[in-house]
Subunit: 431 residues, 2 copies
Amino acid sequence: MGGADGRGHRVVIVGGGFGGLYAAKRLARVPVDLALIDRRNFHVFQPLLYQVATGGLSPGDITSALRWILRRQRNTSVWLGDVTEVDAEARTLRLADGASVPYDILVAATGSTQHYFGKDDWESAAPGLKTVEDATEIRRRVLTAFEAAERNPDRALEDGWLTFVIVGGGPTGVELAGAIAELANHTLRADFRSIDPRRATVLLVEGADRVLPPYPPPLSQAARRSLEQLGVEVRTGITVTDIGPDHVMLGGEGTSEKIATRTVLWAAGVKAASFGDALADATKAPRDRAGRIIVEPDLTVPDHPEIFVIGDLAHFAHSTGEPLPGVAPVAIQQGRYVADVIRRRLAGDTVRPFRYRNKGELATIGRAAAVADFGRLRFSGAVAWLLWLFVHLMYLVGFENRVLVFVQWAWNYVTRNRGARLIAHGWREPN
Amino acid sequence: MGGADGRGHRVVIVGGGFGGLYAAKRLARVPVDLALIDRRNFHVFQPLLYQVATGGLSPGDITSALRWILRRQRNTSVWLGDVTEVDAEARTLRLADGASVPYDILVAATGSTQHYFGKDDWESAAPGLKTVEDATEIRRRVLTAFEAAERNPDRALEDGWLTFVIVGGGPTGVELAGAIAELANHTLRADFRSIDPRRATVLLVEGADRVLPPYPPPLSQAARRSLEQLGVEVRTGITVTDIGPDHVMLGGEGTSEKIATRTVLWAAGVKAASFGDALADATKAPRDRAGRIIVEPDLTVPDHPEIFVIGDLAHFAHSTGEPLPGVAPVAIQQGRYVADVIRRRLAGDTVRPFRYRNKGELATIGRAAAVADFGRLRFSGAVAWLLWLFVHLMYLVGFENRVLVFVQWAWNYVTRNRGARLIAHGWREPN
């Protein structure tokens, strides 16, 4: 590392998600000495994590080794490591193992993590869905709940084994709720002898007055109808006031209700990943309430033109009034933009502010059900669903992964089976 | 459970591997009340575990949910549980969670586990390959070793990060050694910047005087040549005398050698799974040195015609002189045989002793290299390899899994990539 090759200009990207990876790829032919640092050796295609969580896909199908993706970029090295400290004066990062990494340009792209709004003790009872391990843990909990119900069918309903509560009605919550309802009502239908999985309750709780709040109201209504057709119970205008290992408390206007459940999934909020703290400490950068760093129009940290922040870690509101959402297209466009800024600066060219081009939004609910919002063009149903399938296959990294996911979707569509239903790493007797 | 449906004849199979699963499937239309108990909710296609361990396949590709496989057998229920005790008098099993399960016929098919021949402290330094978790742990160790070498290239060779030792030259050891050599010499070739993965040493150690000892000598020689062409260093007539976290000690005739290595994989021996102890305690059944239960010609335990033992847990030597090997075809044929015995007994028909029909043996070494032994017909090379591919695809449970594995094999063949290279569940800084 460290520009020993004489190229000199050391660019360090922290995080190999959408933002970091697309920045790195765009820098392939730019004469810099590029290092990509991640805690993991792989890129995850996060939009399909919910399918890993519900047994439709394997982690290997939606991940690619970062080294493999970047192997032909001779200016690029990949480092596995956990960045714990930023020295903005010395322009050096420090890793957990003590190594230090100097940079001329730093691109912070470490994304976000679950946000429990101060109730961090809810985390063990209500895992979120940000990593591959989160996904396999959710898969384990969901499948284990049905097993526990089969073992104790008389008390399965009262004890909450067949009640699944998803907190948060954004895209992740909607997708999870739809997939679990399909699992209960179709995939597992014939699998048990003492219980009928179709008696399961899948409850989606959203604090706003409709699901998919960022979408136009007619699409929210279409999404709600699709969810209800799948058997999901949708409750809006309701907040969760407590979560324990065997219950949730729901509160609305003047009401309070206790629901017995053993499976609560958290899709209600995210905050900046912990690297945001180290970066803010070092740069005195302003942050929003979710811990995201409020960036300049060119995605740099104020007074630090050598530090860029992109993706979920960045709060960018210059062209839009409100901050851009934490979705893959924003991260991808910001990653590419930063790569272009770096190239232009080296060439002495001027740089324009970042502008997000919203190409439209898609959210899926389940089998042949999705909603699409392209500004003037808004629609839902099977066509939106086919478009969702197509777009997600195209953005998936690696042709092999595309084929694998396509095969499993086709199979799932025909047989309603979900082939990746193994409970690995810690089947435990439910209690 | 417990024959409440009035059918009365309660058959309990413990273990959902090849033996237990094929017995269960064969009993689909036999009028018994069948329960299959396993600690896991899935069947594993063990012959391909080494490809999961070396990043070629995902666990989901070679596993199928037991409930899904047996969902249409209305006489069959699947129980997740750990059988800890057998009461042969009362004909009852006890599970770890306290539940008791009565049986009229018991089929023990719990398989085998690693055998360290009294050196159980070697286990943490030299994991074996019997479960999905073993496979992902081996994958983690192998990939992490290359990462550690990249981090510390100057000492990578001396410290043993690039030395991989496989103990045992049977089929599993040969397959693992070949796959790791391919990984180092081809798959990872362009991935690193500070080290050349091709400098890795893959060492296969076998105590006998040739690899694949059960095969005819010419095939052992062909396998050895193929391994050496892949870059594996093969040492026969050598035993391992010590294993530590950073070395192995090898001993031969009057010699002793210490080899620095961080990755030792154990493929040298297996013993009966722990359920064998419980069964032997309860029935006073005779056992061999590996803990396998020595069965009667009809695979029953002496003096217990109601208890069958099949697969790796059984020692059967009646027609052959020496015990049958612990391979899938033996377990499958024994599972089917036991199902037929149960059916014939219920019908009042006579029963013949079990006879193993050896349809031939296949072992693969790597890309276009395998050996085949069909008694008079013995051959090696590309034809044997294609036959190996075909047979393994055909025996894989589930059409979806066949397609997924086929796609990945084709991809691997063309690109030499191994797509399932994620280090999940515990990337740790190497030390």
